[in-house]
Symmetry: C2
């Protein structure tokens, strides 16, 4: 990883240099929820990422070693993406964004997400452990 992508020696600033965009953490979200994903799975998630951007972000995350890409056991055309520990360690930040979004944007959040967020609020550590395992 090139050092000159970092604006300062501040850890938030540096984390945002890597994850401060609208797509990267959504890819991590999908993997936290589902464990493994294929290109098609990501592509079909409801936010409608373009294939160009998805491809680019997967490469970035792979380069960061936040996820791994492996062959599908039977289908040679399909690849399986999985989080590494480095990727899983983004779970706390992600659930805090869920909590914030659920509190302040509640009127347009789906019922399913509201339930998930309510559970999170009660059992942060348990949900975290579950997501990161």
């Amino acid at each position: 990883m090139d050092e000159n992508i970092f604006r300062s020696t501040c850890p938030i600033s540096s984390s945002l240099d890597l994850f401060g965009d609208k797509w990267t953490l959504l890819i991590v979200r999908d993997l936290l929820y589902h464990g493994t994903r294929t290109f098609k799975d990501f592509y079909q998630s409801e936010e409608n990422i373009s294939s160009a951007r998805l491809s680019e972000r997967l490469k970035k995350l792979e380069g960061l070693q936040a996820l791994t890409k492996e062959n599908h056991p039977t289908n040679k055309k399909v690849y399986i993406y999985k989080l590494t520990q480095k990727g899983k360690d983004l779970a706390p930040a992600i659930i805090d964004l869920i909590t914030w979004g659920n509190k302040y944007l509640n009127h347009h959040i789906s019922d399913e997400s509201k339930k998930f967020a309510a559970n999170l609020k009660e059992n942060r550590e348990i949900v975290l452990k579950e997501l990161m395992k």
Copy 2:
């Protein structure tokens, strides 16, 4: 706030629709660390935000009611920016990004930030309470 800025009914996606860029959370960071800030204070922080972008982001955060802008008590040219509760509630996500950055980008993080992050790791709830008060 316009509803059509949101890509989906997912709370992470929606939070990222608001904060998924390289500058917005850094402004919140400065306010968490310092309590109050002026335009000049933000402008002089080490990441070198351009005044055009700073002005734009401050307006966005004010529009979201994540911060307030008030007159300086004696200098009519200066404005004082402060976090609202909505803004302070971003503190958990921000400290988790500090923790992640400190763990995985440690080699280029300043000693001061390393100390802060170490304390955070030991005393998450106490530091959080202190930042949000």
